[in-house]
Structure formats: C-alpha cells, structure tokens
C-alpha cells in the first residue's frame, strides 16, 4: 500500500466564506497526499468543511489558496475523472435507473449499445438489475445510494469522492452497504475519499482515517487501519481503533458546542 503512487496531492488548501461578520475561515492549510487505490476516510465535527474540501477536490468549488494536484496536474475545473457522490445524491428524477447510470457515458458520446452494456454491468454489481426501468422516486434510500454508486462507477473515474453517503439510511441498510462498498472497492481498485461524521464507519471502511479539527479546519490526526477485510462495524479490533479516533474527535466536537453556546449567549 505504502509504495503506491500518489494520485491526489493537496497543497496548502485554504478556504474562507464571506459572511455577515466578515471572512469566515473554513479550511486552513490542508496538506494531504492520497495514494492510488487508497480508501481514505475523513471524519470531523459537523460544519468543519469536509463537504467543501470534497467540492474543491472535485473541482466544483475553488479554494482561496493552495492547489489540488491530480496526477501532478492542477485541478481547476470539474472532471469525470473525479466523481463526487453528493450527500443528496443528485440523481435525475426524469430518467430511469438505467438512464441515470448511462448519463456520464452519454456525455462521453459512447454508443447506446456500449452504454447499455456498461450500465447493466454496474447495476449488476450493486444488485439493481431488476430495477433498471424504475424511476428514482420509486426506490428506497439504500437503493438510491446504490444507483448513485453505479452511476459514478460507470464513468470509470480515477477517484471516487463520497460525501456522507450513508448518513440518512437506517442501520441495517448501512451495514449491508458497508459490506458492498468494501467489495466494490476491492474489485474496482478505485481511489476513494470518503467523508463521514461516523467514526466507526470511517474505521470500518478506510485504510487511513483522517481527523479534522473544528473550523478553521486543520488535520488533527491520522490513523492507519490495517485490519483484515471485509470488516464489520461491530468487529472488536475495529472498536479499539474507533475509540482512539473518537477521543481525538471528541475534543473538537466539544469545542464546536462551546462556541455555538457562547455565540448564543452573546446574542
């Protein structure tokens, strides 16, 4: 794992938003190297700019300073080589499941026959062949997640960015998807950057877990997870590591709460 090539390099990424009270720093000097084929998880307190960072990596948003290098080339616009699965998914309600999965291929001007073949292959991978003609509103939350995953994989991106994808699901569905995503990762060998606020999920999925501080966000700690796969969220070894990660994170979460409460009393 450690000898792999660096696919993404984040150099001094900083980002602020302009709010009512002036500049609001969100990300502060983020430096990070992500290896090809790595499953990297990022955890952090809510509002710490995890989503912003994914958007910057995807090229959908710009940082105020610093660069993202994708295979040495600076990222300045969105590209199908880095597909972001949004927290709200952004599946297209006017298309069937299959047409959603084909969407990126249609933009690549791939022939309809070839598109269908690829789409069905990935729908099969996420076990949704039976629902290929359904419309999005007819699916359950977990199925929608899998469509979004198939849609992203069909494009065959080098990097998959996932923004808290399983947050809105019930625990049972989430467990199943944890197994599925690990399986898909081991088949496709994609580089995955996975953002979550769930520490155990991060430890369950990632080769590395990065803990973000509260805003202005910096990298607080990095944990390497070398447990055997497939891992299950209830595994004993996993809980041990999760406890370590949590103790780092807890401090940050408490800091956020304190700030929010003091902001309230100030008003």
């Amino acid at each position: 794992m450690t000898n792999n090539m660096v696919i993404l390099k984040l150099e001094n990424i900083s980002k602020y938003f302009i709010g009512r009270n002036g500049k609001l720093p969100v990300l502060k000097n983020i430096n990070l190297e992500i290896e090809e084929g790595e499953f990297l998880c990022i955890v952090g307190p809510s509002g710490c700019g995890k989503t912003t960072l994914l958007n910057i990596i995807a090229g959908l948003e710009r940082s105020n300073s610093g660069v993202v290098l994708h295979k040495g080339k600076s990222v300045d616009m969105a590209s199908p080589e880095r597909i972001l699965i949004f927290q709200e998914l952004g599946l297209f309600p006017w298309l069937t499941v299959q047409k959603n999965v084909e969407f990126g291929l249609r933009l690549k001007k791939i022939s309809s026959k070839e598109r269908e073949k690829i789409a069905l292959e990935y729908l099969d991978m996420v076990n949704l062949i039976k629902f290929k003609s359904a419309y999005i509103h007819e699916l359950s939350g977990g199925m929608k997640q899998r469509v979004a995953l198939a849609r992203a994989l069909a494009i065959n991106p080098e990097v998959l960015l996932m923004d808290e994808p399983f947050t809105s699901l019930d625990a049972q569905t989430r467990d199943i998807l944890h197994v599925e995503i690990q399986k898909i990762w081991s088949i496709t060998k994609k580089t995955i950057v996975f953002v979550t606020h769930n520490v155990r999920e991060a430890v369950c999925l990632g080769n590395r877990v990065i803990v973000f501080s509260s805003t202005p966000t910096e990298i607080k700690a990095i944990f390497r997870v070398d447990l055997e796969r497939p891992r299950h969220i209830e595994d004993h070894g996993l809980m041990e590591i999760a406890r370590l990660v949590l103790s780092e994170l807890k401090f940050e979460i408490e800091k956020v709460f304190e700030e929010e409460f003091s902001a309230k009393t100030d008003n």
Binding site: A58, L60, A78, S79, P80, R82, I83, L84, F86, E88, G90, L91, F92, P93, W94, L95, F103, G104, R106, L107, K108, Y135, I136, H137, E138, R151, I155
Partner: protein, 251 residues
Amino acid sequence: MRKRIIKKIFFYIILFLLWEGLVLLKFWPEYIFPSPIKVFKTMIAGLQDLTFLIAIGISLRRILIGYGISILFGGSLGLLMSKFKSIDDTLCGLILGLQTLPSICWLPLSLLWFGLNERAIIFVVIMGALFSITIATDSGIKNVSPLYIKAGRNMGGRRFRLFLYVIIPAALPSIISGLKQGWSFAWRSLMAGELLFVNLGLGYLLMMGRELNDMSQVIAVMLIIALISIFVDKLILGRIELSIRRKWGTG
C-alpha cells in the same frame, strides 16, 4: 375507475334529462331555449354541410400558428432572461405588466398595424400566450436545483449538453404548466378576436348564430369551442404533464 366513469355518464344523462324537461315545460320559447336534441341535430348538420368543419379548420390553423410562434418566442425569451441577468433585470417587470393586460386589448393596435386580415388575429393569439410561456420558462430554468447542475458538470457536462440533458429536463415540469396556461390564454383570445373581428372561424360562426337568431347554432358552436379546448388541454398537454409527474413521483 369504472365506478367513476359510470358516475360521469349518469351525471350527463341527468343533465340531459333536466335540460329536455325544462324545454318540455315550455318556460321559455324554443328560439330562446332549444332542446338538446335540436342542438345536436344542428351540430350534425353543420358538420355535414362543412360550415362547422371549415370554421373549425380556420380557427385551428390560427391557433396553431399563433400558439406555435408563442412557444418559439416565449421559450427563447424565457431562456435569454434566465441566462442574462441584464435582460432579466430590464425585461422582467415589463413582461409581468404586459401579462396582466388581457390580450384582446391588443386587437385595436393589431388591426391598425396589420389591417383586417389573418395576421392581425394571429398577433392577438401570440400576445395571449407569449408572456405566460416566457415567465414559466424563465422561472423553470432559474429554479433548477443547483445539485442537478453540479452533478451534470461533475460527469462532464458543459454548456450546451449540460443545458440539453440537465437543465431543460429539470425545468420541464414548470415549462409544461406555462404551456398549459398559455394554451388557454391563446384560445380565449382567439375566440374573443373572432367574435369582434368577424371573419370566418368559430367565433364568427357563433356571432352568425346570433344574427340569424339561431340559438341552437349558438349553443352547438359553444360546445364545439369547449370540446376543442378540453381536448388540447386534457388530452394533449395534460397527458404530457401527467407522464412527467409520474416520472418525478409528484403526481
């Protein structure tokens, strides 16, 4: 479903009997209140000797040209407004203002500009539908969820293709309701125009019924006008709307 159809049929039978009953009671003379059978006979006769068919053809031609042009221009104008802020800032108020003007008010202007001919009446039809379609297109495009646009961009969509594959389909529900509204405005203005500016068409036939004191013709033509409107509104535009709503899961 079947129960609903039976209910409907039952309702119309009662309506028919009520109407026929009132005629038989002779509250009003027949030339003021004709029987439904007489109206029906007039309708058949009018269709058979082609006078009604010709009038329908002429009115449909006018509405198709006028409504078609409205869709073309309204759609383009709405598109420009949604894309260019300065066009939006300047035109938006004007268009909202013009939309509140009943389109038949354009008739005098139109007659002075074009004279007593087809173009004058088509112009009124265009003005009837144009602004509703413009406003619906504009707001439909503006209200497309940024999430869909982001997803489209991420998957490699740029400019034209992003527009064609993401923005237009996402805006379609709103555009369709604008088209429906536009249709009913266009049809109303056409009828008003044909009544005032008598030159063939269904409105003219209606007016002729009055002049001949032929109440059965008046009612028969009114029925035809309503039926055409229902046909387009429910069976064509309504179907499209329903199929979109089914896909989106909103209907």
